[in-house]
């Protein structure tokens, strides 16, 4: 024993103090502070998204309209590329040496030299098959499969819509997507994006310290991708194809709806184009060509063009006037051509014959009686304000001035001018019926879309109600449409009033009517022609709406042909041919001459 024996305690104390400091530090690192774990996860884990196949779209008869095809993107990880035979690789991939050099330089600048870079996009399966035999020789190059849309029927481009890379604005708004993802841009693809896209899966993988991805998850279980839901759309592919054929060499559009369900059977916007043009590597080139085409093939005239309706609007006028009590079916009005012109020989029609003859003075007076009904005894101007308010309420019930509650993205609402519109235009109490009478015959400030025109035909066919026009019949094969497309919008107009209008429309296609030449054999079509004048001496727009058969209607059609001439001559035959095709599945011999005239017609240069 000596005097230094106590130093054992000092030394043990030093050891213990250090150990305690270390254990406390460990406790803080491992248990208290969770940021280290977050960092470890950020470093080591990679969430590889698994993209599900997009839903397939069928037509109402079961034909496949939109499906997926596999293409290959050729990727390269610059860091892994060893020495290689540049010439043979370039020959194999059909690229230039500079392309590779540029890509590598870009990757280096971005600090992504170890990350996969896209070298060649969307190689077709047959091209890829030829490449893949050779590709293994080149380290760092590999192919990734992607899917593209393909359209086996080549019809209904705007109806079906397209799929494209997400835009920066969309990316900000929609957290579901990554920067490089594709999503529906228009049509059904956009409206039913959430159904079609399915649910992305996640493959949890590890990333090692040099950036290699190991396809082996940790404890987290991978989430498999849920494939997109298949859709049955309301379109009849044969009808659509026939409609597109009839509208060849014309500008304009067709909308055909099944009145009882609101299902859009065909929607043609001419000139049309093959949707397959806007897919894959050719997309960019073709898109520019279509976008620069003065005929505007990418513009969906059926839902976005806003036209003056012309004479077909007299149908809505008649029903509004009957419901408000301004006239009865028996009301006769003298065809006074002093204020407003007319055509044909008639002088004192009742309502039915006024519709058949499309008598302008008659409907001017009809609207006069609706708008100026002496509701305000003091002032003609205030009276007109009250009357126009009522009138506008009825007109809007037909769907005019609204989106008709349809599921098509980007529809225009058109315009039903009301009190505030004219107050702004002329000043308060500065206008009366005499100022706005051109509304009465569907001219003036009134703007409607062809979809709305067809919807009016549906309202008449159903005698007072409509189901919102929609494009998808079944979500999931055998499924239901969205709930909002199963309910009726009931108009505030008594069913009996429709009988007069329908009888008149029947006569339009009988000898003496404005569209009698277009009537097909054996089918009772009820229709109304319109001829919309154009400023600047251009040819009139030809308009026609109709439905058939008269009893238990199966189809309503609106046809708008720009700069064609008389509605009865150029649009009515298109509509009746479609009806024939739809109801009989064929065109009768007696209708062939009409078909030939339409097919031969060319109004593109007008």
């Amino acid at each position: 024993m000596n005097q230094y024996d106590g130093r054992k305690i000092t030394i043990i104390l030093i050891v213990c103090v250090i150990a305690i400091i270390y254990v406390i530090r460990l406790f803080f690192l491992q248990v208290v502070n969770s940021t280290w774990k977050e960092q470890a996860t950020a470093l080591t884990e990679e969430e590889i998204p698994l993209y599900p196949p997009r839903g397939i779209i069928y037509d109402r008869t079961g034909k496949m309209l939109v499906t997926n095809q596999t293409v290959y993107n050729l990727m390269v990880v610059p860091k892994k590329v060893g020495a290689f035979d540049t010439t043979s690789l370039c020959k194999l991939l059909r690229i230039k040496k500079e392309d590779i050099d540029n890509l590598f330089a870009k990757a280096r600048a971005r600090g992504e030299f170890h990350r996969p870079q896209l070298l060649v996009e969307q190689i077709t399966p047959s091209d890829y098959a030829a490449m893949s035999e050779q590709l293994y020789k080149f380290n760092g190059f590999y192919a990734e499969s992607r899917t593209l849309r393909v359209y086996p029927q080549s019809v209904g481009a705007l109806f079906l819509g397209d799929v494209g890379k997400i835009s920066p604005e969309e990316f900000k708004k929609k957290p579901y997507y990554t920067k490089q993802e594709y999503l529906g841009k228009s049509g059904i693809e956009k409206a039913y994006e959430e159904e079609l896209r399915g649910i992305k899966g996640i493959n949890y993988a590890f990333r090692d310290n040099v950036g290699n991805i190991k396809e082996q998850a940790g404890d987290k279980e991978d989430k498999p991708a849920t494939p997109g839901t298949d859709l049955v759309c309301t379109m009849d592919a044969d009808l659509q194809a026939y409609g597109e054929k009839l509208m060849q060499n014309k500008r304009g559009c067709i909308v055909a709806i099944e009145p009882s369900t609101g299902e859009i059977l065909a929607m043609v916007s001419a000139p049309t184009y093959d949707p397959n043009l806007l897919v894959g590597r050719i997309r960019g080139h073709n898109f520019n060509a279509l976008n620069n085409d003065p005929q505007k093939p990418l513009f969906n005239r059926a839902t976005q063009a806003q036209y003056r309706p012309g004479s077909i609007f007299k149908l809505a006028q008649s029903l509004t006037a009957l419901q408000t009590g301004a006239i009865t079916p028996q009301t006769r009005i003298h065809c006074n051509r002093g204020v407003i012109g007319c055509h044909g020989s008639h002088s004192n029609d009742d309502l039915e014959m006024a519709i058949v003859h499309s008598c302008n003075p008659y409907f001017r007076e009809v609207m006069h009686r609706v708008v100026e009904a002496n509701r305000d005894k003091g002032s003609r101007f205030r009276d007109a304000r009250l009357g126009l308010e009522i009138w506008q309420g009825y007109i809007k019930q037909f769907g005019f001035g609204t989106d008709v509650h349809c599921d098509i993205p980007g529809v225009k609402t058109g315009s039903v001018p009301g009190v505030s519109f004219y107050d702004k235009w002329y000043g308060k109490e500065q206008w009366a019926f005499s100022t706005i009478y051109s509304l009465s015959i569907g001219e003036g400030e009134m703007l409607v879309t062809p979809l709305q025109m067809c919807n009016m035909a549906c309202v008449i066919a159903n005698k007072g109600w409509y189901v919102p026009p929609h494009t998808v019949k079944q979500i999931g094969l055998g499924g239901m449409p969205r709930e909002e497309y199963m309910k009726r919008y009931q108009l505030d107009i008594a069913g009996d009033y429709f009988t007069t209008v329908i009888n008149a429309m029947e006569k339009v296609l009988q000898p003496g009517g404005t569209a009698w030449r277009a009537a097909p054999d054996g089918i009772v079509v009820c229709g109304k022609t319109g001829t919309v004048q154009n400023a600047g001496g251009k040819e009139d727009h030809a308009v026609f709406i109709c439905f058939a058969p008269k009893e238990n209607p199966k189809i309503a059609v609106a046809v708008y042909t720009e700069n064609a001439g008389f509605g009865g001559t150029w649009s009515a035959p298109v509509a009746t041919l479609l009806i024939e095709q739809y109801l009989n599945d064929s065109i009768a011999e007696s209708s062939k001459p009409r078909e030939k005239i339409i097919l031969d017609a060319n109004f593109l240069d007008r």
């Binding site: 130093r7 213990c16 150990a19 690192l29 491992q30 940021t35 774990k37 080591t44 310290n209 190991k214």
Partner: protein, 464 residues
């Protein structure tokens, strides 16, 4: 007490042997986890680190038994010779050694390489024990201090020539053993003071400051000015408040300590700035949090892109804090119960540097969590305290001193190795005893420990 020769394994402290066994096998398990690749999972594959380590374990076990079957007296008698042999080896390595990681530290023997520095500690321990027990010194004169310094310094200088700063640092451990034998306690206080003052010097010296009149100079001069002012104030305080007969001594102490402090901080700054190699300098700066603002980086790292950037190999090269940070992240990722054996993402994806050697503690911490890392620290503390207690029960001073040397070496390795993993010490490449991969270190530590166990087994029959 019978004078009959007992069985060699009688009186061996089996508890220590069991702790040793646990550490070695647990270390091997974790080396396997750190080094295994899926394509080659055979733990005994001799071409892989874990297979080699298994072989080292077998050799070490053989060595341990060999030592236990020897006479303890041998180590006392041959201490000088053993010491000399290791000094010779350290000299030899400078001539014929192979260079790994910048240090000429390895002697190639067939397929295997020996690192004499790992064995030299045994020689120094034995030699110190021999010298002190022979002279019965308690270091109150300069000669024994000088002799002890020479015994430690000779191999230290040879190791510095390799140069292997890590191994060199472990020789500091012997001061604890000397302290136990009577070296003034001031050495510990001065040591602690030097560490604190040194850190201050490095921190202030890290920045260059634009001084009035002198232009841009190292910031350490601010610290030196403060020291000078404090010294001067003390001088005045002594003149005004201390009785004259005591003044002379206090003046001297104040003058000497102020001068020493000024000289020390200047030379630390000079060392760091002028003598140390760039990577060593950087390691010190990183540990002191100067080279990069760690907290800022941590905040940025939560962003995936930055995390990816951190993973870039290019980034790694010019990121001085990379290894330290990865080690810390791996430790933190362990949590309370760990990611599970063979399942540590930082380990498995090779983020942890030097996984099976110097940073094996990171691997253990990630896969076994706080429980595991605590257990390892506790096991070491248990071993060290046990050796100290065993040393204290020796009748032979030789055995006691050697025991303290062994405990001190284990302690210093624990201090530096675990400290660097958890970010409390600079990155200094020394192994965690019994657990890090490496034949030289495992055999060296085994011999170090089992020589003491042999000496301890003879404690009842030997007076030296």
């Amino acid at each position: 007490m019978s004078s009959l020769r007992q069985h060699p394994l009688a009186n061996v402290d089996w508890l220590t042997v069991i702790v040793y066994g646990i550490m070695v096998l647990f270390g091997w398990m974790n080396i396997y986890s750190a080094a295994v690749v899926d394509s080659n999972p055979n733990p005994f594959d001799i071409s892989q680190e874990y297979g080699k380590q298994f072989m080292f374990i077998l050799i070490s076990a053989f060595l341990a038994f060999l030592i236990l079957y020897m006479e303890g007296e041998f180590f006392n008698k041959f201490a000088i010779i053993i010491y000399s042999v290791f000094i010779l080896l350290l000299g030899l390595v400078l001539v014929v050694g192979t260079t790994v990681n910048g240090a000429k530290a390895w002697i190639q023997l067939g397929g295997f390489a020996l690192q004499p520095a790992e064995f030299a500690k045994i020689g120094v321990g034995l030699m110190l024990a021999k010298y002190i027990s022979n002279t019965k010194t308690s270091f109150n004169s300069w000669k024994p201090r000088f002799m002890a310094g020479l015994i430690i310094g000779l191999p230290a200088v040879l190791i510095l020539l390799q140069p292997d700063v890590g191994s060199l640092l472990t020789f500091v451990a012997f001061i604890l053993a000397l302290y136990r034998e009577g070296l003034s306690g001031n050495i510990l206080i001065i040591g602690l003071g030097a560490v604190i003052f040194g850190v201050l010097s490095i921190i202030t010296g890290f920045n260059r400051i634009d001084y009035p009149y002198f232009g841009e100079q190292s910031g350490v001069f601010i610290l030196m000015s403060i020291v000078f002012v404090i010294g001067t104030i003390f001088m005045f305080l002594i003149r005004n408040f201390v009785v004259p007969r005591n003044r002379r001594k206090l003046y001297l102490i104040t003058f000497l300590s102020t001068t020493a402090a000024l000289g020390f901080s200047y030379s630390v700054n000079f060392m760091v700035d002028g003598v140390l190699q760039k990577h060593q300098k950087t390691r010190i700066y990183v540990t002191l949090g100067l080279e990069e603002k760690e907290e800022d980086r941590d905040a940025m790292l939560s962003d995936t892109e930055t995390a990816e950037a951190a993973a870039l190999p290019a980034k790694k090269k010019d990121d001085p804090g990379y290894n330290a940070r990865m080690a810390k992240i791996a430790v933190g990722n362990g949590g309370l119960i760990g990611q599970g054996y063979m399942k540590g993402p930082m380990t498995k994806n090779k983020y942890v540097p030097e996984r099976w050697t110097d940073f094996i503690f990171s691997v253990i911490s990630e896969e076994w969590g706080f429980f595991g890392s605590f257990a390892v620290v506790a096991l070491f503390v248990f071993l060290i305290v046990r050796i100290i207690n065993m040393a204290e029960r020796q009748r032979s001073q030789f055995s006691r001193i050697y025991g303290y040397c062994v405990a001190s070496i284990f302690f210093l390795h624990l201090l530096i190795n675990v400290g660097m993993v958890i970010g409390l010490a600079p990155i200094i490449g020394i192994p965690l005893p019994f657990m890090s991969y490496g034949g030289s270190s495992l055999m060296g530590f085994t011999a170090l420990l089992f020589i003491f166990l042999r000496l301890d087994a003879e404690r009842l029959s030997v007076f030296r």
